[in-house]
Symmetry: C2
Subunit: 148 residues, 2 copies
């Protein structure tokens, strides 16, 4: 497991990290390509990876009672998916399935948590970026919500 | 400015912090009550406080072009509002207005950022809680979204 630091630098959240920090993350990251219909992660499963979408589209599905699996969102490049694996109880709260061919960076969660504990300022920066991504998603969802 | 540490401990995110950590946050927090229609924060304004809702309801409004201010969400107790003030560019991305009488804990953002830099593990824990709150909001918004 490992990828090229330059692949990480395509993402804005890694750009202001030091070379050592990017190298450390590259060591625990895999660059992987998947075909359509591949399931990246399953709702309820223990979180193994955090996914940075480089290319392609991923649908987010929830299992909502009798209706079964229902698509609740579609995400594309530059997005982060599987964030729920980063926080207690460290399981995926949704299913992520590839709609197209997808290129992702998969960061091992256990190793990332260790790295963030060891290099706390790195942890703060990464989590801040995740907060940013989530807030943008909330903004988009609110604007398309029927509530208003 | 300061409040009682016990008021903070009502919120799950402060419960697993040490006594010193809760005391430090209490020092930079105010417990405040507002009447209906009071504006907690304005879209576009520099972020001054992070708000923990103790009691009451707050509506979240966006300024969306010709329609003007539109309600996109309603939040109630145990929620955190004004999270966008925590991340670059440190401004509120929405307006928060009290719908009822509201009791909030207001944490000074500048002091909180300083505290999080100084006590990095505390920073990581707080960010993690914010991520949790945002993920729950996303889950709720997705389920009520017409997209699926």
């Amino acid at each position: 497991m490992a990828t090229y630091p330059d692949l990480l630098r395509k993402f804005s959240c890694f750009r202001d990290l030091s070379e050592d920090q990017v190298n450390a993350i590259a060591q625990i990251t895999d660059a992987v390509c998947y075909l359509p219909n591949h399931v990246l992660f399953n709702e309820g499963e223990a979180g193994k990876c955090l996914f940075f979408l480089v290319k392609g589209e991923v649908e987010i599905l929830y299992n909502i009672g009798e209706e079964g699996m229902v698509r609740v969102d579609t995400v594309s490049s530059e997005e982060i998916v599987g964030c729920s694996a980063m926080i207690e109880p460290y399981t995926y709260t949704a299913t992520g399935r590839c709609l197209t061919e997808v290129e992702v960076l998969e960061i091992n969660i256990t190793s990332l948590q260790e790295l963030m504990q060891k290099d706390c300022p790195l942890g703060l920066k990464l989590q801040q970026h995740i907060i940013k991504v989530l807030m943008r998603q909330i903004l988009e969802l609110r604007l398309e919500s029927p509530a208003h």
